[in-house]
Structure formats: C-alpha cells, structure tokens
Amino acid sequence: MPATTHTIRYNTGKKTLFNARLMSVKFEDLYGFMVEGNVDDVNVLNEVRERIREQGRVWWALEANKGANWYLQPKISSNEGVISVTSLKLSVLTNTITLRRLIRKGVPPVLRPKVWLSVSGAAKKRSTVPETYYDELIRATEGKTTPATRQIDHDLPRTFPCHPWLNSEEGQASLRRVLVGYSFRDSEVGYCQGLNYVAALLLLVMKTEEDAFWMLAVLLENVLVSDCYTDTLSGCHVEQRVFKDLLAKKCPRIAAHLEAMGFDVSLVATEWFLCLFSKSLPSETTLRVWDVLFNEGAKVLFHVALAIFKMREDDLLRIQHIGDVIDILQTTTHHLYDPDELLTTLVDDHLPFLFQFAFDKIGSMTTNTITKERKKQETVVMAELDQRIRRLSTLKMDG
C-alpha cells in the first residue's frame, strides 16, 4: 500500500500533466522499486496490475488450447527477411504471428523468463556450451581485479539504490557476478556503465543469475547493434544518428523546432538507448519494451524513442528553452506507468497512448530500413571518432 509522504512538490512540468494531483506519494511498483509519484500514478499502476492478470488469463487459455510451451516452438525470425514458406508448417507461421501480437500486448511477469530465453535466442546460445559454463566462468573470475571489476564495484551500490533487493548484499553480489562474468566473456566490452542497470533489471525478471547472464549475452551479441558499449561507444553514436534521421523523417516539425533551438536530441536519447529505457521509464513499461525488443529486435527502441517525442508534439512545439524540453520529456517518461500508453492500441480513450504511438502513429519501419540507415551512419561516425582521437592525441605531448 502506498504511504503518503509529507513532501508536497510542485509538478516538475510547466503544466500539470496527466491530471496529476499535487500530493507526492511513495509506493512500490510492480517489480519492487520504491518510487515517488502522484496519486494518479498509483491508480494507473493498479489498473495495469489488473490488466496484467487479464493478459495472464489469455496466455493460460492459449496454453490450454495449443499445449503447454507452445510458444517455445521454433519461430520465424522477423530479422531474416525472406521466409521460405515451403519449409514451414502453417501452424508454426500462425504461432509466430499469434505470439508477436501477444508479446506486443505484454508477457505476464511469471512467464517472462521462459519466453524471453526462447524468443531472444538466449536458450539456443546457452545450449552451444557445456552446462557448467557459467559456474566455471564465475569461478575463473574469483579474486581477480581488472579495470572492469573496479568500475563494477564502484557502481554496485549506485545501481537502483531505490530497490531493496538490489540495495542488499545478496543482490549486489549477484549483480557483481553477472557483470564481472560478462566482462571476462567479452573483454572488448568489459564493463560499460549503463550495463549495470540493464543487468540489474534482467536479474529482477529472470530470477536466476545464470539466466540473467545469458540474456545479457544475447542482448549484447545478437539483439543490439554491435559496439554499443565498447571503447568509443561507436555503436551508440551510430544509433543516435539513425535516430536523428528518423525523427526528421517521422516528426519533421519537432525535429526542425528543436534544431532551431540548438537542442541536440542525443542529449536525452543517449541514456535511453544505452540503458534501454530502464533509467527513464517505470519498470513494467520498460519491460514491455523489452518484451518486444527480445522478440522483434532493436528497432523497437527507435519506435519508442520516437513515440515519446511524438506524444508530446504540441507541448514541444510551444516551448523555447532547452530546460523545458528536458522537463517535458523527463516528466513524460517518469510518469508513463501505463505501458499501453506506449505500446498497444487502446480503443475508447482519447489520451495519447505511447505504444499506440510506437506502432501506429510512427508507422512501419522494418529492421531492413534501420539496417540500411545504420550502414550509412557507420562511416560518418567512424570518421568523426577518428578525427577526435587524432585531435586529442596532438595534445598529449604536454600531458
């Protein structure tokens, strides 16, 4: 039950958003985060809880109908483009389509570990190595100190301290093993700040460390664009440029207005892409994005980022100060307790719904479109980073 605190804050946005009342309350969200919001947030969260139960019933009914674990059957990857129909059974095709629709409406929290491991390819990845892989990896890292482990140790108490388990010794030890383990698996990535938040949320969802580890591995090695987290974050630079281009195409008025103000959208979007929204959106909303991320790929990150801008288009076009842009975007993301605002089409409501925005208003963008965009930007980013390194190295002599 939410406890009312004494703090009365003025709403951070310039206008009262979402009909928010002024009383600030502290409450526990669906994944145990202690968060601060307003009374409306609490009400929304209760509605979301109810909707999750309903969605659960849909999944159980399908299980009764199609057999347990029907969704673990091989699926058609939306990333592979051409589907060879002859080699496919119709039932597999139907299941893939049903599953995609179902996942966009949300995977029930209890099923997330099983569904994510399967649709992301993490289970397959794990099956290629001996069963003892994770335990041996962790044993091999014991007692070793590297730049990565030092940074990890520094960040452990700073990773979602608002979550009781992550703030506990047990939680931090668990998170440490996953991050250190991964830093030894891929020394090029090692450890990059941001992964602490991603891995922490994976732990909360997957329940076991080993499953969280494999989800992290599949995410970095297969789902996201490569080099997102390596030394110069070049993959992240690429994504930001792709995002800017998409914003100019899909929301030209916003893009033009912000550019005229001298506001670079990467100022806010970098964190979204590196933490996969986990630091900006409420947990269940983030996880709904991840449901789609693991099933359909990284294009959903662009959909969601664009949707956040699009749903506040009118406000964004009115304002003139950089600080106000950030206020609007932060207030919007922090209060997006209703994932369906972001992700699905709700019929009888006139509020801007983010997922409705993400998939309907933004229009279709295939993985292919994004891949082409990325190719285009990669060369530019590499040249830019290269130039920067060269400029900086000329300074080194009087270091």
């Binding site: 940074q151 108490p157 700073r158 700040q193 602490n196 030394d231 110069t232 100022l267 950089i322 270091g399």
Partner: protein, 203 residues
C-alpha cells in the same frame, strides 16, 4: 545562450567534467537541491539540472549538464561542452589519478571548447583530509598556470559548493560587460595554444 531580452536573467550552459566517482553529480545535487546522498545513481550520458542564482541585481540561470565519468563516455563529451559558458572540472582530492584526468579535461576544453568558456577546477571531497593525495598547493599552482580558478569543495559538507557556482556566475556577468575578464590574474603560460587551436572549435 543569449541573455533574455528585457529582464536581467542570463541563461548559461554549464558542464561538469571529471573522472568517474569524483563527485560531479554530488556537487550538482548539493547545489541544486541542497542534498547529499552517499550512493548517487551513476550517470549515463549526462543528467540535466537547472538552477538560478542571484548576483547583485542580476540573475544567472544555469543549465547544468552533469556528464558520465567513465572513460569510454568521453567520446560523447563534445555534445555537452559545445557552446558552454562555463565548465567545472572536478577531481577527488583523495585520488591522484582523478587529478591527472582533470588536467586532460582542461587541455581538451582549451583546445576544443570555446575560448571564452570560464573554467573552474574543483578539488572535491575536501572533507576527507586524512586521505588526501593531491596537495592543495599543487592544484592551485596548476590552476594559476592555466588561467582557471580553483576551489576545494565538499559536496558532503557543502563547503564551497555554492561559492564555486556563485563565483562562476559573477565572472559570467563580468565577462559580459568586460571583454577581458580577470580570470585569475595570472600569466597564461601557453597563450598561443589557446588562441590558435580555438579557431577549430565547433560551436
């Protein structure tokens, strides 16, 4: 950022740079909210804050970019310091490596940033004197040689935190009126470096 026409509010972009864990976010949090948290969530990319400060009859509205400290995030830094009116380069007085890192930031700002950017050097965690690794004198000398102004601060005890922002605000307003702000009254040992390379700046 141009000053608002009509009234006397001046918007000023300010960026915090420095090694991971030097206390950049803590300094900002102390200045903006008057709080100190032992374990401040690590910053990814950068976090934005704004705070106004009155200096005599004028007001400076700081738009503060608190950047991430990890080395690999440095490639993002130009986005944050581009067009900044002021920068605070932060190091941890109990960590020598963070001072070395701070010097590199100063170099980068001098070479890449706007030559008019006011640069402050903050030796943070000044409450932890027992663990000191960077002598105040050394930092002071370095600051003088490089035309920075220098303060030791503690986000934990609030020592000098408001003061450093206040000093920046004062200099910003001075600089507005006076084309040659008295940035430390010290001879710059490498005047050419600043002048020449600043022409390649990207604002």
């Amino acid at each position: 950022m141009a000053a608002n026409a009509g009234n006397k509010i001046r918007n000023a972009k300010l960026v915090l740079l420095g090694d991971v864990g030097a206390g950049k976010s803590s300094l900002v949090l102390r200045f903006v909210k008057g709080q100190f948290v032992e374990f401040q969530e690590s910053t990814i990319g950068a976090a934005f804050f704004s705070q106004t400060l009155a200096v005599n009859d004028e007001t400076v509205k700081f738009e503060i970019w608190d950047t991430a400290g990890q080395e690999r995030y440095h490639s993002l830094a130009p986005m944050y310091y581009r067009g900044a009116a002021a920068a605070i380069v932060v190091y941890d007085i109990t960590n020598l490596a963070s001072f070395t890192r701070a010097k590199k930031w100063v170099q980068e700002l001098q070479a890449q940033g706007n030559p008019n950017t006011i640069v402050a050097l903050a030796g943070n965690k000044a409450d932890m004197l027992d663990a000191r690794q960077v002598p105040a004198e050394e930092a002071k000398t370095y600051a003088q040689e490089n035309g920075l102004f220098f303060m030791e601060t503690s986000a934990k005890t609030a020592i000098n935190v408001n003061d450093i922002f206040y000093e920046i605000a004062k200099r910003l307003l001075q600089g507005q009126q006076d084309p040659s702000p008295q940035a430390g009254m010290v001879l710059n040992q490498r005047p050419n470096e600043r002048m020449v390379s600043s022409s390649s700046c990207c604002s």
